[in-house]
């Protein structure tokens, strides 16, 4: 089956290490992502994307590559589909310093066209990356998160 992919880019005024920490440290991610990412962040280890309040696991997968603070590659699936290659997609984070900024590229590929996952991530990544940028540059998360939560 033909898979589809998306490539998201944002430029953030922060060090690569801060951006890396914002992705991998649960207490950091919670503040702008409303979720936390739990893992040992070593190739072969598992990772989970979890709602810190309910404890519900929303996404799960395996770490394929982890080169802090430059490159992180992981598999991405609903917990019920974990281990099912047909329903597993892949996310690559690339952090490149450019002058005093970092170019953060998130590539989400191996997606099944028309799947709920595809629809979800198309809405999710622009919001997460925009929120991450605002959070790192101003110290405040975006209001859209609290609003989305309140109406959920």
């Amino acid at each position: 089956m033909t898979r589809t992919e998306y490539v998201y880019v944002t430029y953030i005024s922060a060090t690569p290490q801060r951006i890396w920490d914002a992705i991998v440290q649960p207490e950091f991610a919670r503040q702008y992502w409303q979720h936390e990412n739990i893992s040992e962040w070593k190739p072969g280890s598992g990772w989970k994307h979890r709602d810190p309040e309910s404890g519900e696991i929303k996404i799960a997968g395996k770490i394929l590559e982890a080169i802090p603070p430059k490159r992180l590659v992981l598999t991405w699936a609903y917990p019920k589909d974990e281990g099912n290659a047909g329903e597993t997609s892949r996310v690559t984070f690339e952090l490149e310093p450019i002058d005093s900024m970092v170019r953060l590229t998130v590539t989400h590929d191996e997606l099944v066209p028309g799947s709920n996952m595809e629809k979800g991530i198309k809405q999710g990544w622009p919001r997460v990356l925009s929120s991450l940028k605002t959070f790192l540059e101003t110290g405040k998360p975006l209001p859209t998160w609290s609003k989305a939560k309140a109406s959920a």
């Binding site: 998201y8 880019v9 430029y11 590229t105 590539t107 622009p126 919001r127 929120s131 940028k133």
Partner: protein, 105 residues
């Protein structure tokens, strides 16, 4: 942000973004189909979109694939919608004060 507004202020460039919204990862050749202009002109429009970070690109061998990058648009949305909401809330608040103030203040 100036670059984003400038890039969006052109119907051809908005059409290119629509095409990439419809299908991810199109090459220049694919993007030129259905566009009534030269390849050079399309290349120039794409350069403006890339500079504004509205289009991200990935090279595969000699082929350049284009992706819609809506992150800057989301930043604009967050900034202006938030402001708009704040204004509405303030207006409502003033209205409430005025209506209630007549009898209570």
């Amino acid at each position: 942000m100036d670059l984003v507004f400038k890039a969006l202020a052109d119907p051809t460039r908005r059409k290119l973004l629509d095409r990439l919204h419809g299908k991810s990862g199109l090459t220049l050749t694919e993007l030129c189909e259905q566009m009534d202009m030269t390849r050079q002109a399309v290349t120039q429009h794409l350069a403006v979109l890339e500079e504004a970070n509205l289009v991200s690109v990935v090279w595969r061998g000699r082929e350049k694939h284009h992706y819609l990058n809506p992150v800057p648009i989301h930043e604009i949305y967050d900034r202006w919608v938030k402001k708009f909401e704040r204004t509405s809330l303030r207006t409502l608040n003033q209205l409430k004060k005025r209506l209630e103030g007549e009898s209570h203040d």
